[in-house]
Symmetry: D3
Subunit: 263 residues, 6 copies
Amino acid sequence: MRKLLQGLQHFQSSYFPANQELFEQLADGQKPQVLFITCSDSRIVPHLITQSGVGDLFIIRNAGNLVPPFGSANGGEGAAIEYAIHALGIEQVIICGHSNCGAMKGLLKLERLRTEMPLVYEWLQHAESTRRLIQENYSDLKGDELLAITMAENVVTQIENLKTYPVIRSKLHQNKMAIYGWLFEIETGEVLSYNPNTDEFEVPQTLLSNIPDELYVSTSAPPIAEAEEVAIVRKHNSGNLPPWLSSAQAQRIYQGSAQGSTK
Amino acid sequence: MRKLLQGLQHFQSSYFPANQELFEQLADGQKPQVLFITCSDSRIVPHLITQSGVGDLFIIRNAGNLVPPFGSANGGEGAAIEYAIHALGIEQVIICGHSNCGAMKGLLKLERLRTEMPLVYEWLQHAESTRRLIQENYSDLKGDELLAITMAENVVTQIENLKTYPVIRSKLHQNKMAIYGWLFEIETGEVLSYNPNTDEFEVPQTLLSNIPDELYVSTSAPPIAEAEEVAIVRKHNSGNLPPWLSSAQAQRIYQGSAQGSTK
Amino acid sequence: MRKLLQGLQHFQSSYFPANQELFEQLADGQKPQVLFITCSDSRIVPHLITQSGVGDLFIIRNAGNLVPPFGSANGGEGAAIEYAIHALGIEQVIICGHSNCGAMKGLLKLERLRTEMPLVYEWLQHAESTRRLIQENYSDLKGDELLAITMAENVVTQIENLKTYPVIRSKLHQNKMAIYGWLFEIETGEVLSYNPNTDEFEVPQTLLSNIPDELYVSTSAPPIAEAEEVAIVRKHNSGNLPPWLSSAQAQRIYQGSAQGSTK
Amino acid sequence: MRKLLQGLQHFQSSYFPANQELFEQLADGQKPQVLFITCSDSRIVPHLITQSGVGDLFIIRNAGNLVPPFGSANGGEGAAIEYAIHALGIEQVIICGHSNCGAMKGLLKLERLRTEMPLVYEWLQHAESTRRLIQENYSDLKGDELLAITMAENVVTQIENLKTYPVIRSKLHQNKMAIYGWLFEIETGEVLSYNPNTDEFEVPQTLLSNIPDELYVSTSAPPIAEAEEVAIVRKHNSGNLPPWLSSAQAQRIYQGSAQGSTK
Amino acid sequence: MRKLLQGLQHFQSSYFPANQELFEQLADGQKPQVLFITCSDSRIVPHLITQSGVGDLFIIRNAGNLVPPFGSANGGEGAAIEYAIHALGIEQVIICGHSNCGAMKGLLKLERLRTEMPLVYEWLQHAESTRRLIQENYSDLKGDELLAITMAENVVTQIENLKTYPVIRSKLHQNKMAIYGWLFEIETGEVLSYNPNTDEFEVPQTLLSNIPDELYVSTSAPPIAEAEEVAIVRKHNSGNLPPWLSSAQAQRIYQGSAQGSTK
Amino acid sequence: MRKLLQGLQHFQSSYFPANQELFEQLADGQKPQVLFITCSDSRIVPHLITQSGVGDLFIIRNAGNLVPPFGSANGGEGAAIEYAIHALGIEQVIICGHSNCGAMKGLLKLERLRTEMPLVYEWLQHAESTRRLIQENYSDLKGDELLAITMAENVVTQIENLKTYPVIRSKLHQNKMAIYGWLFEIETGEVLSYNPNTDEFEVPQTLLSNIPDELYVSTSAPPIAEAEEVAIVRKHNSGNLPPWLSSAQAQRIYQGSAQGSTK
């Protein structure tokens, strides 16, 4: 606690005075552009990953970055979604899962949690679609590989769940809503983004390919971590896949099951 | 979105390489010391306020930083609390409200939300103790003053609610649990902390008075905003009270009702 | 009641003896191919519309052919869906709405139902996505036109909801699940089917175009209504649209909002 | 699916044109006389069994023809009941169970369903009265006999549950509500009806004994299956009991426990 | 509080020593014969009314002596019922309403409670069957008369609700369960008991008519109020009806609606 | 039942006539001073223990004297609390547990109840804070000792839960609410009261020490048991502790864990 209070003192004596104008301006109201839904995990710092400033991200955090289907939970998720979309007019949502997620680990051994952590057990029912899909389709995987695909499929599950919210469905109808599914790899700092057309996770920067090569300019608060920029071109091993997966494994995992025929 | 992706690229090219070792270490597991429960509001950045690093804070964020009483909600709050306390062994919880809170504004005109934002309406039922207390005890206040006391009383309400969780009650019994109620003033960057003995909100730094004047040292990741330290002694106007309240008003608000007699 | 008992006697003396073998065979177990979800409305007779026989359709009927999102209701819908998909191995689902639907009418004047028909009011919360979409996007419509688009959008809402069920999501992942959205026009006997690619409702027979011109053969029980076939080629006015809508109106309605830009 | 679409085409080209007037008339509104609650099972076709026409039956179908007690479920059952009784003025309800019911089989091995079909497991809690009654009173039975009595007792349970609905209770008070419990034997086509006075299931036709021997006349749509009437007098073996039960067994089953004394 | 503590001291110094043996015996376990469900109202003292001793009555008390239908509430009622019947083997239940009941008054002006006493409002939903019956059948009554019939019908409603509990239904099946509905008139001390055969409330002592004129003997603890017996033969005005109702009014109220025809 | 009816007759012929005036006066409205929450157990008779009269105590009784946290249950507890505090203006609450409590016994072997008494199982979830605290802190105890500490800690749990109710929190804020936790020992007739300052259970009479030695005077109805007062000075063995606990054991139990340090 002492450390936090020292940090607080530090914030008040250094950061705040230097950005006082911004805070005073924000005191009248917020105008975030993005609803960022992620895990409570201490290793995920949305502002750090996206180098966002104060006022940029409206954030929901819970264990496992779950979005219970509309009407299925009376916790804070639905209210925050509704407020973000309807009251703040946000039109972009990011659901961000991450590697080594404790909630996903729990999902893979769910029954064991029933008596020891009953609230976690109940909460993970909202990820039952993920659990069943994994159980019925990836019974041959285990360990890190199993956990990785669980994390990935879970993000897709939550995207489906999100679509059941009235405010989301109405905006989707108007083509005024974009939903992104992200995976954050703690170990590599890499982020992959879900592509619904291919049903694969891809490096989101490819989406930037047709963006003019402008300089990195923050339009609001200075990014929270302002280290000098290093001109590194990240090299993605074997097509942007997590490094701890072989190319073949990863390919199978992230591409879903392509075969099968509709009737 | 483009801005976020640029930020992401920036993070990956600058911050991550410089702190790669920490991330690799954290990839094996987290060991946060604090459960930080705060609002989804975009103007609240816990890591910034507390100058915390990656891995320091396990975070729950929802609209209004509510903690529904145990068993009253099946959303993510209870599961994250249980996981934080039981699985991670966290022994310190901060519930952090803030000024100009949209959820608290909603609470003060609750009936109007019923049809327009039904999920927010339902969610705010978990702050009904706050609403009723305000309605029955502060009917003479309005505007900013009313909102300020609502924000403050709501933090106290959530502390009471938190105590109903089995994992919390068990740890409290062992004297291994500390619960803090914070108020963050966006406009001033100030934080006040609830003192259950006096039933008042105070500047938490006073708790540091008996701390040796050591240098500010972060034990884990470098603080997210590493601006150079400025040796400012903050001057609190009229005893650490929000600047937009007169000293008398504020005194009345934060001191609760001291009179009255038990039977 | 007398009429029903006479009908029962009639069934037992005529239909049953003529099909006794089928019933005896079915007594050991069912093997339906389709899960048919439709309204409780007395004017909808699934077996009649589809000329299906005993044992062909596993049927869920409720007011408004709703499918509450997974986890949001503890009524019979979820259990029947789970049983149909998991226990019976059904891989095709039809959600069939219809014209002049009382539930949809109720949805358009929802608040009035709160005290008079509280259970209907509560139930229609599961169609809130439909209601909000209509309210925010079709405020210019009224009367039959408004009701028609409500019925249509509601079927799409329920398809989205259906996707949140674990058994459905798992089968969709395997490409072993087809979900159809139907609209039945009582007045014309016409059925339109939702095409997710175009976001329009179309005459489903067009899907049959590449089907060899085989004879109509029922593989199981004789169709329930065995009137002799009349060689009528139905003429659809103005592109298979409901006759009571002008071509322009209808076009706007069933095509959704095509404009708008993703970000 | 192809078969269904062919059936649809068949319906539109033959049945509909021949009954167009009726459909056009019904398009303005329904006026059903009976609320028919039965199982989703594909082998149950209410219109076939009762030779009813379009517009005659308002139908609820779920797994196990359950009627959760008032207030215990937020699924479609309560809303459809309320709508049928209050909005449509229906004064007769039939709850129709059937032999070889999958839901009843599940009820007899409930614990096994908990993880494999959790929604079915939850849903069957609404038949807990049936399960407990069977467990505590028929522990000596097994196999078909056990299943038969479960099906029968379950219908009685649901009649009790139905009485807790406000619209039902009010109509019962006015003597304007009749509730029937039916059992349909797939194998024999037989229907038995519950007699609350004797606590036995009987052939409902006996209720017709004092009905003048008029001809079978459908007052609305032509019955869905219009095979020519065959003058068969069904012979009920051993007093209208299921053929696979010995007379003694059946007698014991359907007569409940007559002994015992009130205090 | 002082008064209660004095009473406690009084109990410990007088009553307890005189009945110590009984308490010591009861300390090993209870064996009550009756489950008594009544209102929280301070004017109802079950032991006083029935002159019962310690250990005689297992008691549930809530506002309005409601018994929510099985599965509709997760409060204490269901658990206490289950425990009483299953664990203690109780075979007699009394549901006792009373005159001038605040909960019944609330039920008659329910909408007004929604914001002022939301928990009472929600709770009274379990008496919705009573409210609707009254609204639809006694719209001509008002004042005391309306309140009296509401109290009476509510007891009948709760009897119906009670029958939906698994443990009750199983015992009823065995003829090992008797359910009584009582009305207690505070003003007169009179108790009426529901007769399901006549659908009327009657003086329960008439049931005693064929009881030999034995002396009043308590088999367990001395009755709580041991005033000397006064040989008064109560005179019931106009057939055991509440004194504040005219004979004609009362007759109409307690006899239900006899007319109407079944179909 | 006969016994109860005889008791009723006795009440009407003796007690009522002697106190008719009081009943007539109470018929207009109640004005209780205390909300008494206790167990359904037949051995607990609140009026006897406190020697209270008709009209003195507003009473909630359920299995285990539980108070589910605000919003977590829709049973009668919350409504009765709200009614007592808001409508009746009661400012004192007693939560009274007792020795040899069946509900507490069940809590200690909870899992066994899941299938046999599912409603009790569900209900005891509201005492999960008690269960977890016991499990994590008193694993060395067993038998009577374990049951005694469970009963005691459970009363404290319910006090915490009670504080989450809006009407309670508002009154606490005004210093117009006193909450007492009592333990009643059936075997000894002793009552201990919780002292939040010391976290111990004490003989409540010590609170009376500064009360003038006035005579015992009931201000309302004659106490229900009016045996003559016996001048006994109760001797409490080893500091008012339950006789079946050694002084050392008891001391440990009722004093909680004093060690440990806040951070």
